[in-house]
Symmetry: C2
Subunit: 625 residues, 2 copies
C-alpha cells in the first residue's frame, strides 16, 4: 500500500481487502423491538450432506460479526463520509444531551482553527454532544434506573445469536457443560439480563454519545469473551489512511474493540478518521497525547492539560479511556528490585511525574473530576495497569498487586458516579500464576470486567509473542477475563503491519473462543460442531468457510491438492485416497443392532480366552528383580 | 529445494539451512565420568551490560540442544555416511547383544536383494544387532537391576545443564516455585535419579541398540517437557532427501524426537536415511508400513506381516513404535455416535480389521509376543490412542476412556517384560476437559509418560491448528504430560513444508517451556530471566540470540528499524526515542534510601489529604438508586 496524506478529505479510500464479502456468507440483520434496532450477523451457507454420509441439508451457520457494514455488499462505503450514525435517534430520544455549538476543549478548537491541517482533516459535519447540566448519560446510569436502552436490547440479540433455534438442531447444539469458576452465564441472553449486568458493574457497554456510529457490544464475564486490537501511528511512521485500513482490517477478522495508541504526528486528526469509520468502540490512552502536548517531557504534565485532552477526545467519541490512576507515588519505589522495571508507557509517564514532583499522581487526586467528565459523555474507564510485570520474573509482585488494590478502590468510586469501568491486567505471567491474577481482580474490583494483555506465559520467544500470549489469554479468558488485548508477532520488536494485525486477531479469536467453550457459553460449541461435521463428511468448502480464516485454510489446502476436484474428494492429503480413516467410521455407523450384539458376544469370548492365556503364560514372563 | 532420487548414495547432500551455526553461539560438550560421554549443549555468548544500566559481564547462557552435530562447525557432516555411532562402545561393553550376519526380517532381506533400489539406498556399512538369546537389552531392564548406563548418565548431565553453577548467578536463577500437581522434580538431576525413574516406569529413554547414533534423551514428567516433530512422505509426494532435510530442520529448532510417518513410496529406504542421520530417537507407526505391504487392504493384515515389520524396523534402529493395541473389538461400536468417528489412521486400520474378521485385534492378542521383540532391541512402546477424539464434541467419551483403561492394562504387561512404555493421548479437547485426561492417564497407567497431540482446544481454526493445539499442549504439559507431539499450521489441510515444520516446532517449544516454568522445573526460568535482563538493558542482539528463533526476531526488528545503529539504541519502536518507558525504571533503581523514605512520607501525607477530601465531598457524589 502506498498512501499520501495530501487532500485526504477528497482522496481517502477504503482498504480494498477489508470490503470483500466472506465466501459463501451473507450479512443479515435481526430486527429488535423497533425497526431501527437491526443487529448484524454473518450467515454462512453450507452445502448438503451427500453420498455415504446421508442426504440432508445443513442449516446455515450464524456467527457473531464485528466487521461492520464493510462486508455488506449492499452498504455504500465512503471513508470520507464515515459510517451511518445509527444511534443518534436513540440518544436524541433520551433528551438528556445538548448539541454544542462548538468544541469544549481548547486543543480541539485550536486544531479546528489551524488551516494547515485542512488537507488531512476528516470533513466533519457533526457537532459534539454533552450531557445536559446535572444529567448522567452512562448506560450504567440508565441500567440502575431500570431502563433497558436500545443499546442493551441490541447487545442481547447480538450475544444470543440464534440460540433458541439452534437448540433445535440437536447434534449441532449439544455441547459440554463447561466449568465457569463461578460465572453466571444464562442459557439465554435477555435484554433484562444485559441491563442487570451493567447495573451491577459486571459488564460494560462502551458507547460514547459522540460515537453514534457504533454497533453496540458488551464486555463482561457472563458474555462472549471479547478481543481488542491495537492500532496507531508512532514517531517512526504510518499515515492516517494506513491506520484506518488497520482498523477495518482488524474488525474484519474479529476485533471487538479497537484501541488507537497513536503517539506520532497528527494524533487528533488520525483519531477522528478512525472513530468516524469504526463500528466498534474505540479506546485510547489520553496520557499519550497529553505527553505530546508538553513535548514529551513527563514532568511538565499538568492536570489541566490532561483534563483538556479528556474533553477533546470525549467530544470526538472515544468510547473508553485507559487511565493509569492506580500508579501512586508510594508504589513507584516498589518497582526498584524488578527485572524489567515499569514497562507500561502510561505507568512510566506517571511514575516519572510523581518522582519529579514528589507528589501523588494527579490522576489519582483528580479521579472524581475525571468521573464527572466520563459521565457527561459516557466514556468508560479502562483502569490501566501501569505497574504490570514486563517479565515472568516480575509477575504477581508487590507493586503489581498494590496497584490492583487501588484499582479496586477506584472502581467503587467510578460506580458511585454510575460510570462504567473495567480493569486492565498483565502482562507476563507463567501459567501457574495466572489464576491468582483473575481471582484477585474479581475480589478487589467487585467483578468489574477484567481486560488483559495476554498474559505471555514465557519471555523467550520474540517473534512469536502472539502465541506465548495466546496461551495465557485463553486460560485467563476461561478463568473469567472479559476481554483479551491482542499481541502481534511484532511485540517487543517493531510495529505491526497488516499481516501482523490479522495474525494477532485470529490468534486472539482462538483464545477467546476456546475460553467460551471452556466456560460453557451456550452459543460456543455450535461452530465447532458444524466444522467437525463438515470435516467428517469431507465438505471441504464448508470447512474453509466455517473457519476463522477461510482464505488461509483454502490456500493451505491448495498447496498440497490444488485441483478443484480435491475439494469434493472424500479423502485428505494425510492418508491419500487409498486408505482413509474417515471411511471406516462410516462403516461403524452403518452397523445394525444385531451386528453390534454379535461383536460384543465375540469380544466377551475373546476376553475369556485372553484371561486363560494369561493364566497359562503368567509364570513364564519376566518378573521384576 | 529441488531434489532427485537418482544415485542418492553419491549425490545426497545435507540441507544447507540446517548446518548454519546459531548466531553468537558455540557448541560445547560436557564430559561425564568417562571421556566418551560428551553431552552437547549450546552456549550463547552475551554482550556486557553498559552505560546507565551498570558495568558487568553477562555470563554465557547454556541451553539444551537437540540439533546434533549439524550445528557444530567442527563436525564433518556427510549425510551419505550418517552420524558417528557413538553408543556402539557402550552397547558392546554390555556384552548382551549379537551382531547378526544378516537381517532377520523377510521384508528387510527382500529390499536388500532388490537391485532396482540401489540408487536410493543408504550405503549401509553396519550389521544389525539383537539381544543374545534370553537377554533383555532395555534401559528399563538395566535400571531395575540397579545399573546406571552411560545413556542414563548422559541424560542426567543433559537435563541438568549447569544448574549448580547457574544457582550462583543469583538474580538470573531466581524463579517462581511452580505448581507441579504432584510431580517429583528434584533440584538436581542425578544419574541415580534418572535410573530410578526409568526403573519405576515413570520415564523412558528410547535408545534402540540399532540406533547407536543418538544423543540420549529422556521423557518423563519429572524432566524437561519434550516435543516431537512428525515428518514422512505420503502417497501424494516428497522425496528421501526432502524428508532428511525436514528431520535436520526439525531438530535444529528443537524437536526432541522425530516420528517418520511415511505412507508413500520406498518407506524402508526413506527410514534408513532418516535414522542414520538422526541424533534424536526416531519413532514410527509400523502398521502404516504393514498396510502398504498388503496393498492398503486393512482386512488382509496378519500378525505375521505385522511381526515381520516390527523386526524389519527394529533392526533399522527405530527407537519407539506406536502400537494401537488398545483398539479392542468391543470398543469399535462405541464410536458409532461420534461426530467424527475414528480419526486415528492406525486406530481405523485396526477397527476395520476387527470388524472385517469379527475378531479381537491381533495387536492385543499378540501383545506379549510384541514385548519379546521390543526387549530384544530396546524399542520403546508408544501405546497409540486409536480412539482419540477428532472433535471437541467427541472429547473424553466412552470409547476414548475405554481404550485408555486398556492401555493402562498393557502398560503393566510391558513393565512385566521390563519393556519401556509411554502412552499416546488426544487430540481435540476443550480446555476445561484437559486435566481429566491427564489425571486419568496417570492413574490408569501408573504414571507412565503421557505423550499427547496438542490437544486442540477448538475445531474452528484450520490454518492455525499449531496455535489451537499449542494452547492445549502448554496446559497438559503443565499438568504432567511428558512429551508434546507438534501440530503444524497445515493440520487438517495438507502436508507441512519446511516453514510449517519450523512454525510447529517453535510453537511447541513455547508450550513445553511454558509447562516447565509452570511446573517449576529448576532450570526453566534462567532463559526467561536472561532474556528479560537483555530486554531491559536494550541489548538487542542478545534478545534475538537468546530467543527460540533468532532469525525471525532479527528480521522483525529490522522491518521497523533496519539500521545497524538501532541495535544498540536505548529505545524501541514502540515509544521511539523521545520518551522511553525503560528509562524511568532506571531512575527508580537509582533512588537512595533517603529518597525512598521521603517519597513514603509524602505519600502518607497525600493519603491523609485524600481521606479528608472524601469525607468532604462524600455527600455530594451520586449514590446508587
Amino acid at each position: 500500500m502506498s498512501y499520501t496524506n495530501g487532500h485526504l478529505k477528497e482522496t481517502a479510500q477504503v482498504d480494498e481487502q477489508s470490503v470483500q464479502p466472506f465466501p459463501n456468507s451473507k450479512k443479515i440483520y435481526i430486527e429488535g423491538s423497533r425497526p431501527d434496532i437491526r443487529v448484524p450477523m454473518r450467515e454462512i451457507s453450507l452445502s448438503p450432506t451427500t453420498g455415504s454420509f446421508g442426504n440432508e441439508e445443513n442449516e446455515p451457520l450464524r456467527v457473531y460479526d464485528t466487521s461492520g457494514p464493510y462486508t455488506d455488499p449492499e452498504a455504500s462505503i465512503d471513508v470520507r463520509k464515515g459510517l451511518n450514525p445509527q444511534r443518534n435517534a436513540w440518544i436524541d430520544e433520551r433528551n438528556d444531551t445538548d448539541v454544542l455549538s462548538e468544541l469544549s476543549s481548547d486543543y480541539g478548537r485550536m486544531r479546528e482553527a489551524d488551516l494547515s491541517l485542512e488537507n488531512l482533516r476528516f470533513d466533519l459535519q457533526r457537532k459534539p454532544r454533552r450531557a445536559k447540566e446535572g444529567k448522567n448519560v452512562t448506560q450504567m446510569h440508565y441500567a440502575r434506573q431500570g431502563i433497558i436502552t436500545p443499546e442493551m436490547e441490541y447487545v442481547a440479540i447480538r450475544e444470543n445469536m440464534k440460540l433458541a433455534e439452534m437448540r433445535e438442531q440437536l447434534q449441532l447444539n449439544e455441547q459440554h457443560p463447561g466449568h465457569s469458576f463461578g460465572a453466571a452465564i444464562p442459557q439465554e441472553i435477555t435484554p433484562e439480563f444485559v441491563r442487570s449486568e451493567i447495573a451491577r458493574g459486571r459488564a460494560v457497554l462502551p458507547a460514547n454519545i459522540n460515537h453514534p456510529e457504533i454497533e453496540p457490544m458488551i464486555i463482561g464475564r457472563n458474555f462472549l469473551t471479547k478481543i481488542n486490537g491495537n492500532i496507531g501511528n508512532s514517531a517512526l511512521g504510518s499515515s492516517i489512511e494506513e491506520e484506518v485500513a488497520k482498523m477495518t482490517w482488524g474488525i474484519r477478522w474479529g476485533a471487538d474493540t479497537i484501541m488507537d495508541l497513536s503517539t506520532g504526528k497528527n494524533i487528533h486528526e488520525t483519531r477522528e478518521w478512525i472513530i468516524r469509520n469504526s463500528p466498534t468502540p474505540v479506546g485510547t490512552v489520553p496520557i499519550y497525547q497529553a505527553l505530546e502536548k508538553v513535548n514529551g517531557v513527563a514532568e511538565d504534565l499538568t492536570w489541566e492539560v490532561f483534563r483538556d485532552t479528556l474533553i477533546e477526545q470525549a467530544e470526538q467519541g472515544v468510547d473508553y479511556f485507559t487511565i493509569h490512576a492506580g500508579v501512586r507515588l508510594a508504589y513507584v519505589p516498589l518497582t526498584a528490585k524488578r527485572m524489567t522495571g515499569i514497562v507500561s508507557r502510561g505507568g512510566s509517564i506517571m511514575a516519572k511525574w510523581c518522582l519529579a514532583h514528589h507528589k501523588e499522581s494527579f490522576l489519582y487526586t483528580h479521579f472524581e473530576e475525571i468521573c464527572e467528565i466520563m459521565k457527561a459523555y459516557d466514556v468508560t474507564f479502562s483502569l490501566g495497569d501501569g505497574l504490570r510485570p514486563g517479565s515472568v520474573y516480575d509477575a504477581n509482585d508487590e507493586a503489581q498487586f498494590a496497584e490492583l488494590e487501588t484499582l479496586g478502590e477506584l472502581t467503587k468510586i467510578a460506580w458511585e458516579h454510575d460510570v462504567q469501568c473495567f480493569i486492565e491486567g498483565p502482562g507476563h505471567v507463567p501459567m501457574h500464576m495466572i489464576k491468582e491474577n483473575m481471582d484477585k481482580q474479581l475480589r478487589e474490583c467487585g467483578e468489574a470486567p477484567f481486560y488483559t494483555l495476554g498474559p505471555l506465559v514465557t519471555d523467550i520467544a520474540p517473534g512469536y509473542d502472539h502465541i506465548t500470549s495466546g496461551i495465557g489469554a485463553a486460560m485467563i479468558g476461561w478463568y473469567g477475563c472479559a476481554m483479551l488485548c491482542y499481541v502481534t508477532p511484532k511485540e517487543h520488536l517493531g510495529l505491526p503491519n497488516k499481516d501482523d494485525v490479522k495474525t494477532g486477531i485470529i490468534t486472539y479469536k482462538i483464545a477467546a473462543h476456546a475460553a467460551d467453550l471452556a466456560k460453557g457459553h451456550p452459543a460456543a460449541q455450535v461452530r465447532d460442531n458444524a466444522m467437525s461435521k463438515a470435516r467428517f463428511e469431507f465438505r471441504w468448502e464448508d470447512q474453509f468457510n466455517i473457519g476463522l480464516d477461510p482464505d488461509t485454510a483454502r490456500a493451505y489446502h491448495d498447496e498440497t491438492l490444488p485441483k478443484e476436484s480435491a475439494k469434493v474428494a472424500h479423502f485428505c492429503s494425510m492418508c491419500g485416497p487409498k486408505f482413509c480413516s474417515m471411511k471406516i467410521s462410516q462403516e461403524v455407523r452403518d452397523l445394525d443392532e444385531a451386528q453390534v450384539a454379535a461383536i460384543n458376544a465375540k469380544a466377551e469370548e475373546g476376553m475369556q480366552e485372553k484371561s486363560k492365556e494369561f493364566l497359562d503364560t503368567g509364570s513364564k514372563i519376566y518378573h521384576e528383580v
